[in-house]
């Protein structure tokens, strides 16, 4: 083996440095490292021969050989760092316009979303969820609610009855969610604060009626509930539901329900035209959204409560109606068509 002179080593070093600096990637750099610093490299072998030399020469050669090695190692390290940090210029440029890989997206039905929204508002005010059967009897749907047999209000409801033999207290599909009031009052001691979302049925089908629809019933029985409180609860609810806060005008109109007195229909300023008058509100500027009232003493008595001690408020909301107003839906039938073009508009939305 030839012994390299200091000049040879310097040349080697220069050659190696150029090559290291030019290494295009980590692989090439590793090859360089092996060539110039590996066990088979010239420099390594020169270092191996140091042991055979005389001390002064060994020191001298050892000094510049080791310096060279250190220099090259440093050079490799710095080139390595450069390569690792370098932007990947040669990788393919991503087509950012390519669509995402598709995935199925689900959604809740707008009626469910509306019911959840209503529920959440009332639950935040301490109302609890209550439930009752959809197949009811005349007692709970009518009699206990002060709607006696042949009451004009009974015929207005167009109730669907179950086919059966029995003549008294017939089974029916509840025509409103109000029977839940009776069931809850009989099962739980007052004070009570409940809401009950659910389905109701009437024998009616046209542009503004479907034979099945959804209501949310509310009931608050306590010792000091007044009509002023009812106005407060209903007004606050409607303003929060529509997200208009104080700017939403709410109007209470006297009305008649056999199970409440005083009774009221509640109108809100039209959410489309803001009271200017449009097709949605029939040019009146008002939209009827719910019925409510103070629980009738006869209903309290029927539920076993002393009307002088307890009173309460009750209200009922039409879910379809509120959903149509909230989401600008113009056709009631869309709810039960389950047309994906309609439903997909609600994808990913929350209540």
């Amino acid at each position: 083996m030839t012994v390299l002179t200091e000049k040879d080593v310097a040349d080697l070093c220069a050659r190696a440095r150029t090559e290291i600096r030019n290494a295009g990637d980590l692989e090439a750099l590793e090859l360089c490292r092996r060539t110039y610093l590996g066990r088979k490299s010239e420099l390594y072998q020169q270092l191996q021969t140091l042991g055979t030399l005389e001390a002064p020469l060994r020191r001298e050669r050892g000094a510049y050989l080791n310096r060279t090695r250190a220099t090259l190692e440093e050079c490799v390290q710095s080139r390595k760092a450069e390569l690792v940090d370098a932007p990947q210029t040669d990788s393919a440029v991503a087509d950012l316009g390519l669509p995402s890989r598709a995935r199925y997206v689900g959604g809740l039905h707008p009626l469910t979303m509306t019911m959840l929204r209503i529920r959440r508002l009332f639950q935040s005010a301490g109302f609890e969820l209550a439930e009752g059967p959809e197949v009811e009897d005349e007692y709970h749907n009518f009699d206990a609610l002060n709607v006696y047999a042949d009451h004009p209000a009974r015929t207005m409801h167009d109730t669907m009855y179950l086919a059966q033999e029995q003549r008294d207290n017939r089974l029916l599909l509840r025509s409103h969610t109000s029977p839940v009031q009776i069931r809850t009052m009989r099962e739980q001691p007052p004070p009570l604060r409940i809401i009950c979302p659910g389905r109701a049925y009437r024998c009616d089908m046209d542009l503004t009626h479907t034979p099945m629809f959804h209501q949310v019933e509310g009931l608050w029985i306590d010792k000091h509930i007044s009509f002023a409180d009812l106005r407060g609860v209903v007004t606050e609810f409607l303003q929060l539901f529509f997200g208009y806060e104080e700017s939403l005008s709410v109007r209470f109109r006297a009305s008649y329900f056999p199970f409440t007195e005083p009774s009221a229909e509640v109108d809100i300023g039209c959410v489309r035209c803001h009271g200017q008058g449009c097709k949605v509100c029939g040019r009146s500027g008002w939209l009827e959204v719910m019925g409510c009232g103070m629980v009738h003493p006869n209903v309290l008595a029927e539920a076993g409560l002393d009307a002088d001690e307890w009173n309460g408020m009750a209200f009922g909301l039409g879910v379809e109606r509120l959903a149509m107003l909230y989401y600008d839906i113009d056709d009631l039938r869309l709810f039960f068509d389950n047309d994906p073009r309609f439903l997909s508009q609600f994808w990913g939305r929350t209540s």
Binding site: L98, P99, R101, A102, R103, Y104, V105, G106, G107, H109, L111, T112, G126, E128, P133, E134, V135, A149, H151, P152, M160, Y161, L162, A163, Q164, L173, R193, R199, Y201, C203, M205, P211, M212, W220, D222, H224, I225, S226, F227, A228, D229, G232, T235, R251, F252, R253, A254, S255, Y256, E261, P262, S263, M294, H296, F335, N338, D339, P340, L343, S344
Partner: protein
């Protein structure tokens, strides 16, 4: 109900602008649905149309059907020649006349030539004037004494507003102009109008005896004979026009006048043809088997619930509902018996519906008519009849049992504040009660009052409290949020709400749908007999659904029609099962909340770089598992469902989940054809309320030891089932690991067993399949040795070979 504002003005001074009135009435509970003008179109003014007499009718020289009329429009108006084609034009009669320049709805009148003859304007029919067909077709014949040349618009008082009300059933008192005027007076704090009348002095000797056989149902009955009435006479224009504006069809003078009185004061009246009454009037309940032909042409079977006006021989009318055809007033009627009575609303309630008839009388009697009104209305009506239809009135015959009395109502001052949240002083409240028209006396605690007789709806304290609120104004009542007692109520920990479930499914890419609970009653669409409805809107909605799956299949079929193939749908809703048995024939159906899911189409929506793969049972299984993982329990989804449970699904691939009353599988091909489906969807349905959550107790984590894993690819006959293989591998591995560790030491565990491939094809024998498993082993306390794991794998292979004939796959 429709009402003319001008008519209302007869009773009470009205503000000029009815929009304020409409608003006040609406807020007070008498909902005004809308208001219109008595003309069509509403803004028509009939400029220039006047009243003219036809002086002469000459033949048209060039047309047989046309006439040339010479019309006179009175002093200063002059005479005009008008070509007219109406067959009813007569010399000497008076008609509305539109001269050139006049404005009729949708047309401007000009003089023009008609078949060569000059025509200066036209004579008008009521339709041409925008009054509809109320006055028949042909020219509108006006009374001979109508003032010539006067504006037709003003003469007929067309400057009027017709207000439509939607009245709640408690306000029967407002079903008349007078009643509404009283309400307006209360609302505007004006004096109530007086219901005056003049007694008609009897000049006929004819009488009819009256017997009240059902004094509870009809405690007060009045009637009088009017002798020699002229049924064919015309009622005055103003009356006809008012009836038209209220939407009442003309019949004959007697009926029209009765209708007018009913609308005016609220008392329904009925006129009988006296010649058809045999003997005395008897107000009685019907006897079973009796029948009566009614005015509307129907024949009604009567029963004991019907109240009748009868004579000594037979029924004449259904009291308060409708008269009989035989005793009806007709062209040949000479003498009539005019009835004005009070019937108990409780007796009449529901009878109109039972007989399938509807009448203005029934509508009012059901809602309660003022019993004080009967005689007053009879006198008012008699006066009009005598005035416009002639005849001589007989003496009023009255049969009275116990007239219903108004209750005395105690109202406590303290309740006003308590119920309305409104602190009103005693004088203020007293003033409101006076506005109501009630007789009021103060008591120590509040007031004692007798409501006005016309307000049949005021009977209890709370009724009066509502009136106080109404008259004070609902909008002026305070608004506040209640002081509430705070309380926590515990919901059971195990509750999994519908919302939780729905949100999980939405996260899995499922769309919620809402279908009707009302379905067809066809037996083949139900697993169990469905509860049936007695009445419904259609045969397709005659039963209650017993399963959610048919609804989802309908949705799928509709989606397909909309060119959509990939679907993930779910529904949450109640299903019903008939529970009737011989012992309990009419027990209520069982109602359970259920969940159903439907999956079909591609596994991943169509997109670039994804291979198209159809979904199969195992995709639905994955979604169901993801849902069931919410419960924290293990559910066995590998058992075949019993045949009867899987009626919609293919019995060869139908999983039963009896713990959830559930099934999962592929739609049977037969049903796919029934719904015309291009693919067979995967479906699951289960009882939602059985999904309850287990409490979660997290285990503590110790220092992690390295795991060892092995892959085993085994070849087994097709008959080997995944569940059994998994179980054997698990058991054998666990047993071997326990024996390897010795009795006292903690054993290693087979931490994970994952089937990662199922393969059939080359290198695998026919009717065999290769199943490849990852096995992950770990010891909780130390590193495992390769030799230990190899022993386990060998042991597993021995067992699998023995039981399934399994061999290691040869690659």
């Amino acid at each position: 109900m429709k009402l003319s504002a001008r008519w209302l003005g007869d009773w009470i001074d009205l503000p000029r602008d009815v929009s304020d009135l409409s608003e006040r009435l609406t807020v007070a509970g008498l909902e005004v649905e809308g208001s219109t003008r008595p003309l069509e179109p509403e803004d028509a003014k009939l400029d220039g149309v006047s009243i003219a007499r036809v002086l002469d009718v000459l033949p048209h020289p060039n047309a047989d059907r046309l006439h040339i009329c010479v019309v006179d429009t009175g002093a200063g108006g002059g005479k005009h020649r008008v070509v007219c084609g109406a067959p009813n034009v007569r010399k000497g009669e008076v008609y509305p006349y539109a001269p050139p320049g006049a404005l009729l709805p949708g047309m401007k009148i000009e003089s023009r030539k008609v078949r060569g003859e000059n025509s200066e304007g036209m004579l008008c029919s009521s339709a041409e004037l925008g009054l509809g067909d109320y006055y028949g077709d042909g020219l509108m014949t006006l009374p001979r004494n109508a003032p010539l040349g006067v504006s037709f618009y003003h003469w007929l008082e067309l400057d009027d507003t017709i207000i439509s009300f939607d009245l709640t059933p408690n306000r029967g008192d407002c079903l008349s102009v007078y009643g509404l005027a009283c309400e307006v007076a209360s609302l505007y704090d004006r004096p109530h109008p007086k219901l005056g009348y003049k007694r008609v002095s009897p000049s006929s000797k004819l009488r009819v005896g009256i017997k009240l056989s059902a004094p509870e149902d009809c405690p007060y009955y009045t009637a009088r004979v009017i002798e020699g009435v002229r049924v064919a006479s015309r009622i005055p224009w103003w009356m006809a026009e008012r009836l038209r504006r209220c939407g009442v069809r003309p019949v004959n003078s007697v009926v029209d006048i009765c209708n007018y009185c009913m609308l005016d004061v609220g008392q329904p009246m009925h006129a009988f043809d006296l010649q058809h009454i045999k003997g005395d009037i008897d107000v009685r309940r019907a006897r079973a088997g009796e029948t009566l032909s009614l005015l509307d042409g129907t024949k009604s079977k009567l029963n004991e619930r019907d109240l009748l006006i009868a004579d000594s021989e037979q029924p004449l009318a259904l009291a308060g509902l409708m008269g009989g055809a035989d005793s009806a007033v007709s062209d040949t009627t000479r003498n009539i018996l005019l009835e004005s009575a009070w019937f108990d609303p409780r007796v009449l309630a529901g009878r109109a519906l039972a007989h399938g008839v509807s009448s203005d009388a029934a509508h009012r009697f059901e809602r309660g008519v003022d019993p004080e009104l009967a005689e007053i209305a009879l006198e008012r009506c008699s006066a009009l009849l005598l005035g416009y239809a002639g005849g001589k009135a007989g003496k009023i015959c009255v049969a009275a049992a116990k007239k219903p009395v108004r209750p005395t109502i105690m109202v406590r001052h303290s309740r006003v504040e308590r119920l309305l949240g409104l602190g009103l002083s005693r004088p203020v409240i007293r003033r409101l009660l006076a506005r109501l028209g009630a007789r009021v006396r103060s008591t120590w605690k509040g007031w004692k009052l007798i409501p006005p007789s016309r307000r049949r709806d005021l009977n209890t304290e709370v009724d009066i409290l509502e009136e106080i609120a109404r008259l004070h104004g609902y909008q002026r009542l305070p608004t506040r949020l209640p002081d509430a007692n705070m309380s926590f109520r515990q919901t059971p920990h195990s509750w999994l709400t519908d919302e939780n479930v729905a949100n999980r499914l939405v996260g899995l890419g499922y769309q919620e749908v809402v279908n009707y609970s009302l379905v067809t009653s066809k037996a083949e669409m139900h697993t169990t007999p469905p509860p049936l409805l007695a009445n419904s809107i259609s045969e397709n909605m005659r039963a209650l659904r017993t399963s959610l799956l048919p609804g989802l299949l309908n949705n799928m079929s509709q989606h397909q029609r909309r060119q959509i193939q990939d679907m993930r749908l779910f529904e949450i809703g109640n299903c019903f099962a008939a529970t009737s048995s011989a012992a309990q024939p009419d027990s209520a159906p069982r109602e359970t909340a259920r969940l159903a899911m439907l999956l079909c189409g591609r596994r991943v929506p169509e997109s670039w770089g994804c291979e198209e793969q159809p979904t199969d049972l195992y995709d639905l299984k994955a979604d169901l598992e993801a849902l069931l993982s919410m419960t924290g329990k293990d559910w066995d989804l590998s058992r075949a469902a019993p045949k009867e449970a899987s009626y919609l699904l293919d019995p060869n691939s139908c999983v039963g989940i009896p713990e959830l009353d559930g099934i999962m599988g592929v739609l049977d091909a037969r049903w796919a054809r029934h719904w015309s489906l291009r693919s067979r969807p995967l479906m699951v349905e289960l009882d939602l309320r059985r999904l309850t959550m287990d409490a979660l107790h997290c285990r503590s984590l110790s220092a992690e030891q390295p795991a060892l894993s092995r892959d085993l690819a085994i070849v087994v006959p097709e008959s080997a089932q995944a569940t059994a293989l998994k179980q054997r591998i698990n058991n054998t591995a666990t047993r071997t690991l326990v024996s390897l560790s010795g009795k006292s030491a903690t054993p290693a565990v087979l931490e994970k067993l994952l089937l990662f491939d199922v393969y059939r094809g080359s290198n695998v024998a026919q009717k065999h399949k290769s199943m490849a498993y990852h096995l992950h082993f770990r010891h909780p306390e130390r590193a495992l040795l390769d030799s230990e794991v190899d022993t386990v794998c060998e042991e597993v292979m021995i067992v699998l070979n023995k039981e399934f004939g399994a061999t290691l796959r040869d690659f």
